[in-house]
């Protein structure tokens, strides 16, 4: 005789002060729990801004399973607004990545051509741990990434569960987002970060003088007051 072990349990989710038990399976993703909670409370507006928080104030990691997140039966979770999701969080990266980026942009652009680099990292984390220098045509007026290279790159990213976190490109002089930059980012997802480095990146390897923007949910680019609103340099 086979004995079925019931693994399902309930957590208590609090929204607007009202508590509802939501059943979960240990192997279920936290995102599934989040969606169940949102559905259970009938939330239709700005649901994408909501996250689950523990009573110790920490965010329940959405990329984990219920079991790996350490959720326990009858645990009380607070469903409350977090922030603009879809990449809206701060990206962490080592300063060495900024230095390496400047090195590539200078070497490739030689002070006379624009150049482009992508910062990449694990798909479900706000961590930048690598960069890609795409195959591209370049001139003093712009750049064009090779279609074939891009197709291969997308496949590789998908297979390795990684994603592009930000695009960084140079301008001949002033740093700004041109109409072309607005219209053709490599990623068109809200929260995506674009950085423009002035003077073909020939200045100090710093982002202090860069144009840094975030793609808003309405499709428009929002210029950030400083790179610190998008990045943490560790």
């Amino acid at each position: 005789m086979t004995v079925m072990v019931e693994k399902k349990f309930a957590v208590d989710v609090v929204y607007n002060g009202v508590t509802k038990p939501i059943e979960v399976q240990p192997e279920e993703q936290v995102t599934a729990l989040l969606h169940k909670a949102i559905s259970s409370f009938g939330i239709t507006q700005n649901a994408h801004l909501l996250s689950l928080y523990r009573q110790d104030g920490s965010l329940v990691p959405e990329a984990e399973s219920v079991e790996r997140a350490g959720l326990t039966p009858n645990e009380v979770l607070l469903l409350r607004p977090n922030a603009v999701k879809g990449g809206g969080g701060l990206l962490q990266l080592a300063r060495s990545i900024v230095h390496k980026t400047f090195h590539i942009l200078r070497e490739c652009g030689r002070g006379e051509c624009e150049c482009i680099v992508y910062w990449i990292g694990p798909a479900h984390e706000s961590l930048i741990d690598g960069l890609e220098h795409p195959v591209h045509l370049r001139s003093a007026l712009g750049y064009q990434v090779d279609d074939g290279w891009l197709t291969t790159f997308w496949k590789a990213l998908g297979a390795s569960k990684r994603s592009i976190k930000a695009q960084i490109h140079t301008h001949p002089a002033e740093a700004f987002h041109s109409a072309t930059d607005d219209e053709w980012p490599i990623v068109s997802q809200a929260g995506f970060i674009s950085i423009v480095i002035p003077d073909f990146a020939l200045g100090q390897p710093s982002l202090e003088n860069a144009w840094v923007g975030r793609l808003h949910t309405n499709g428009e680019w929002q210029k950030l007051a400083s790179m610190r609103e998008a990045l943490i340099l560790a």
Binding site: T19, G57, R80, P81, G88, L90, Q222, A234
Partner: protein
């Protein structure tokens, strides 16, 4: 100027849960048509605390556009109750009619036919409408429906419980109107069910009787709804001495009247800092700085105690970077309030609010009692800090949804967890690397 413009943000908030087929005018009309009777007795009104219940309640109801009726014995106003003016209680309350929100009247007609009744103390008659009794002590406030609780004279010395009680009652009036509107989703009705009995306790601390309470030099970043609510509450605390500055470059608009507790309808076009710096108790001395934070003056050096009521999240990060000691941050999101305190070494406001939620760049849904709770909670934190009894770290953050205060998780005290990606790079976050 129309009621629609003045109540715009509350109408927007109610739209979270009312049928989308309703027009703004219909929602507005429903709030404006509610008649609320406030009743009290001579004993309850013989204390500053008891008077504070009534003044706060009338202010919160009027700012929702409701029509207020009074059944009160007249008595002298014991301590200033800004923005109300007048030496007698009834004179000051009646004079506030149409001054907080232009079509919100305050009357003492004998034929006032109430939809809802709130009683502070005793009510000798038999109420002919749903009736809640307001009770409380120095730091605790309660409301309970007639039949659940018995009337009690208001006898508290300090006014915090009084303001809690008024905020709880104002919410019941709001929910009364929401229940009369067709819902967007029927299950949402749970948020607007009446609380037969609810209370909130900020917890008692020792306050020296008859002595001045020196809050020192305090900077207020923003002169908007939450800061004004904090100053409204501070002004009612007896014996307060405080000097400081208030920073804001914003001008008062009609849509601020539904929640800016110190503002009058006649203040439209006035800088908010002027209102916040002028309309408070005798012991408060604030210098108005017409400047958005961070700015030329505000970016130099902040006070040892900073009260932050600003919506803009990056501004909170800048305050965190510039402030050297104690910061209280208050915010609201729809029906929720967030109140926190940050001291050197503890997880900062960047850890709690890590991402700039730029929203739609304009109309933020709000209602009087929600903004008021946020300001009141900040005032309590400031008082506790000054009196040397701050909340412990496990109460660093208060997340409170004052809709169903009868439920156990309406208010949750929680610690703030440090984040590796803290935008203010605070000490607590750096220690994680």
């Amino acid at each position: 100027m129309t009621a629609l413009a003045e109540l715009d943000r509350m109408i927007l908030l109610s739209r979270d849960h009312v049928a989308p087929t309703l027009s703004d005018e219909e929602i507005c009309q429903q709030f404006q048509s509610l008649k609320v009777l406030c009743v009290s007795d001579p004993h309850s009104l013989s204390s500053h605390s008891g008077q504070t219940v009534v003044f706060t309640l009338v202010a919160l109801l009027s700012r929702m556009g409701m029509q207020v009726g009074l059944n009160l014995p007249d008595t002298a106003v014991l301590l200033p109750q800004p923005p109300f003016l007048g030496s007698s209680l009834c004179e000051a309350l009646l004079a506030s009619g149409r001054k907080l929100v232009t079509e919100a009247t305050v009357r003492s007609d004998s034929d006032f036919k109430a939809d809802v009744i709130f009683v502070v103390g005793d009510f000798p008659g038999k109420p002919d409408a749903p009736c809640w009794y307001l009770t409380g002590s120095d730091w605790l406030g309660s409301v309970a429906m007639r039949g659940i609780a018995k009337p009690e004279p208001w006898s508290a010395r300090l006014p915090v419980g009084a303001m809690v009680s008024a905020a709880l009652a104002a919410c019941e009036a709001f929910k009364f109107v929401m229940r009369s509107l067709p819902p967007r989703n029927p299950p949402d009705a749970v948020f607007f069910q009446p609380s037969f009995s609810s209370s909130w306790n900020f917890d008692r601390i020792n306050v020296p009787l008859g002595e001045l309470i020196d809050l020192g030099f305090v900077d207020f970043v923003s002169a908007g709804a939450i800061s004004q609510a904090a100053l409204f509450a501070l002004s009612r605390f007896p014996g307060i001495e405080m000097s400081g500055r208030v920073f804001d470059d914003d001008i008062t608009e009609a849509s601020n009247l539904n929640r800016n507790m110190l503002t009058l309808a006649s203040d439209l076009g006035q800088p908010k800092v002027l209102i916040a710096s002028r309309r408070h108790g005798a012991g408060v001395h604030l210098q108005p700085i017409v400047e958005r934070f961070p700015g030329r003056i505000s970016d130099t050096r902040l006070a040892q105690r900073v009260v932050v009521g600003v919506d803009d999240i990056p501004s909170r990060w800048r305050v965190q970077e510039k402030a050297s000691n104690w910061i209280a941050v208050g915010g609201t999101s729809h029906y929720n309030i967030s109140s926190s305190v940050h001291t050197p070494g503890s997880p900062c406001s960047g850890c709690l609010h890590p991402v700039d939620d730029s929203g739609d760049g304009g109309r933020i849904p709000t209602v009087s009692f929600v903004s008021f709770w946020a300001g009141l909670a900040m005032t309590v934190r400031l008082l506790r800090e000054a009196l040397g009894e701050p909340y412990p770290p496990e109460r660093q953050h208060l997340w409170l949804t004052p809709l169903r205060m009868d439920l156990s998780h309406a208010g949750m005290w929680i610690p703030v967890a440090p984040r590796r990606d803290c935008p203010a790079h605070c000490l607590a976050s750096r220690s994680m690397f």
